[in-house]
C-alpha cells in the first residue's frame, strides 16, 4: 500500500514523518523553484523604459553618424599610400551609390531574420522531422498531413 502511495503524486497518502524528511521537502519545493525561475526568465530582459520603446528613441553617443563623418579616418594624397587610396576609393563608390558598407551589412545581417521567415523555416523543419527526407516538397507534405487528420477524426460505428 505504501508502494502505491509512493507512486501517487498526491502527498496525502504519505506519512507525516516521511514528508518532513530532507529529501522529500526538497522535492516538494522543486516545482515552485522552477516556476519562479521561468518567471524571472521572462522578466529579466524587460527594461523599464516603456516610453522609449513605444516612440523608437535611439540613444547614440557617437558623433560619427550624426555629423556624417568619414568612417575610415585616413587621408592620403596622390598615391602616397596606395593601400589607403584603394580603401578610400571603394568607400566613396559605396557612398555615392548608397550601398551599405561592410560594417553596416553586418548590422543588417544581425537583425535580418523576420518573424514570418523564422516561422516558415521552423515549419519546414518540423515537417522534415515528421517525414523522411526526399519525399516531395513542403506543400504536398502539409496536404497529406491534413488528409491524415481528417481520416483520423472519422468515427466508425461499431457493428
Amino acid at each position: 500500500m505504501t508502494g502505491r502511495a509512493g507512486h501517487n503524486p498526491d502527498k496525502r497518502f504519505l506519512s507525516k514523518g516521511i514528508l518532513q524528511m530532507k529529501f522529500m521537502s526538497r522535492s516538494s519545493h522543486a516545482p515552485e523553484e522552477v516556476s519562479t525561475a521561468s518567471g524571472n526568465r521572462d522578466t529579466q530582459w524587460i527594461v523599464d523604459s516603456g516610453a522609449v520603446s513605444q516612440r523608437n528613441i535611439i540613444i547614440d553617443e557617437s558623433y560619427m553618424k550624426l555629423e556624417d563623418l568619414c568612417e575610415i579616418g585616413r587621408i592620403t594624397s596622390k598615391q602616397f599610400n596606395p593601400y589607403i587610396e584603394k580603401i578610400l576609393a571603394e568607400k566613396n563608390r559605396l557612398r555615392d551609390s548608397d550601398e551599405p558598407s561592410d560594417d553596416q551589412e553586418d548590422v543588417q545581417e544581425m537583425d535580418g531574420v523576420s518573424a514570418s521567415e523564422m516561422s516558415s523555416r521552423y515549419n519546414s523543419l518540423v515537417s522534415n522531422k515528421k517525414r523522411a527526407p526526399g519525399l516531395g516538397d513542403d506543400s504536398s507534405d502539409e496536404e497529406e498531413t491534413n488528409q491524415d487528420a481528417t481520416e483520423r477524426r472519422k468515427f466508425l460505428k461499431p457493428s
Partner: protein, 235 residues
Amino acid sequence: MSDTARKEIPDKPSIVVCGDSFAIPPDKDLTVGPGLVFRNNSVTCTKPGVIKSNDKSVWIDRNNRRYVPVLEERVIGIIIGRVMDEYRVDIGGAHVAMMSSIAFEGATQRNKPELKPGNVVFARVIAANKDVEPELACVNKKGKANGLQVLEGGHIIQCSLGLSRKLRQHKSPLTQPLFNHFKSFELCVGMNGRVWVRSDTNKHTVAISIYLKRCEYLCVADAVMTLKQTVRALG
C-alpha cells in the same frame, strides 16, 4: 523647469546650458545624441554647447579634451605594456584599453605581430562600458583590417576632440589646403583627438603638424597663411 520643458527643439543651432529641456512631438522617432538624455517625453541637456538637430536626430555640439570611448569609433592608441595575450593601450581616456594580441587581420596564435611599448595602432573600439575597461581590435566585424593597422613612422599630435571631428569631415576645409601645398602626405585621424602625420620628408611632417595645431585656434584663412610661412621658413 515646466516652462523650459514646453520649448521645442530649435531648428537653427543655438546655445544651451545644462538642464535645458525640449519637448518632442509624441509620435516622432528620434536619435538622441551626445550631451542629451531622454526623459519624460523630452530631451534634457547634460552638457553645455550648441544644440543641433535634423529630421531624425538631435545632439549637442561641443568641444571636449578628454576622450570617452564609444563603441565602433576608431582611435589612435599607444601600446604601454602587455598582460598575457593582451596589450594595454593608452587611448587618452580615463582608463587604459585592452587589445588582444590576435586582433589583427590574419593573425593566429603562432603568427601574430609582436608589438612593443611605444608602438602606435589605429584601432576600433569593440567594447565600451562604464564598468569595464574599453577593448580594441584592429579588424572590422568581418575580420578585415580596412585601414586599421599598426602605424609606423610619422608623428603624432594631440588636439581637441572637436578638431579631430572637423578633420574627419568629408572634404574638410581644413585638409584641402594640404593637398595644394604638399605632394605626398598621409593623415590618420582618431576620434580620441590624436592625429598621426606622415609625409615624404621630415620638414613637411613638421609643417603639417604645426598647421594642424594652429587650426585649433585660427580660422582656415589664417592657418593657411601660417602654413605658407612655415613652408617658406623650412625651405
